[in-house]
Subunit: 155 residues, 3 copies
């Protein structure tokens, strides 16, 4: 049997700012999301975690640095920074606009844009190994992550 919760509906939104030291970098943000869920006063519902930029991903996976390295190497193999075929001189069409981050737009689609996670008892309702991450593919400047909680207020 499942668990039913009713009460006053509310939404809560906060924009989190992150500036990575590297152009390509993965950072765990579970604690930040947990803090915002707690501050929201929402007891039960969902939380959307969405980068407000199009060259970054919010994803859930293992907080293990070897895996972070594997993910970045894998993304570079599948969506290389030097054009679709990975050869210099065969650049992305997107670079004709003066941009140099064509790969970042593809990497973010491959890893996934966003996650919506469950909230219960005023906390993230996670499996043992689920950790929320922010993956940046065009960093070294301020980026925003939108965190939006929706659900039943604490009574």
């Amino acid at each position: 049997m499942g668990k039913l919760t009713t009460g006053t509906f509310a939404t809560y939104v906060e924009e989190l700012t992150i500036r990575t030291s590297e152009r390509y970098q993965i950072q765990c943000i579970t604690q930040d999301v947990e803090r915002i869920v707690r501050e929201s006063g929402i007891d039960d519902g969902l939380v959307l975690v969405n980068p407000m930029h199009i060259t970054a991903s919010c994803y859930v996976n293992d907080l293990e640095y070897g895996l972070h390295q594997d993910i970045m190497q894998w993304l570079e193999k599948i969506a290389p920074c030097h054009g679709i075929d990975g050869n210099e001189g065969e650049e992305y069409h997107h670079h004709r606009t003066g941009e140099d981050n064509g790969d970042a737009h593809l990497k973010r689609q491959l890893l996934g844009q966003q996650v919506t996670m469950p909230v219960q008892h005023g906390r993230l309702h996670l499996g043992t190994w689920e950790q929320i991450h922010y993956a940046e593919f065009d960093g070294q400047r301020n980026k925003r992550i939108l965190i939006k909680v929706v659900g039943v207020m604490k009574s």
Copy 2:
């Protein structure tokens, strides 16, 4: 600090119909989603944008035509229309059913199925460059996109 909103909860759903002129085509649908959010009378919450077909994607990325071209070329490289290895004669198992769109089912998983975006002040709450797109991989016929808004009604 974040922003809390309470009020009467509501949902609003509309199915949007799209028919692309090409088999493979990317189309920006931000304006359509924005219109439906406005018509919903919902002031604050979330909007789900989900293709009701399994050979298409709704995704958020740059509205830049060079990038659209890069995305399609990249998807064709990673999930080729002529079978997993890209060779004619090594077709998808799916084609034994008489279908010819095996690649489309994979491309939609690679690019991503759906997005859930935040709504605030009765509008999409987007980052500067976030645009909602529909990517079709088996078009030239009517397809439906489900747009569902959930949240607090305008008071």
Copy 3:
């Protein structure tokens, strides 16, 4: 014109347990999700379907066994079990921890982690061919899938 629904807000959550007989296996879970939606008593809203494990995917696509086979072969080509380049001896960094499932963490990102589907009239609101699947990449033990329904209670 869309359809507006208002009423008492509720959430309902249930954890579904699955144990696949194979390490890599795809299983359709539409009926399970449908049952939980029905039991929730929620008439209209959204349902989140999220694996609580980081080596599995919940995704929506065709219930066609040829396609299931194509998906697994494609995932193995793009994220091989023998390291990023598919060569034995060039293992994932993640394996230095003693794990042997580096590929599973990548396959789940490629196929997609989770889906949020619409609920209407107390049922899943699906397109003709949309079926919810669970894809396991490190199975043969109990795994949990979180199913969370949010929306308007039946009046």
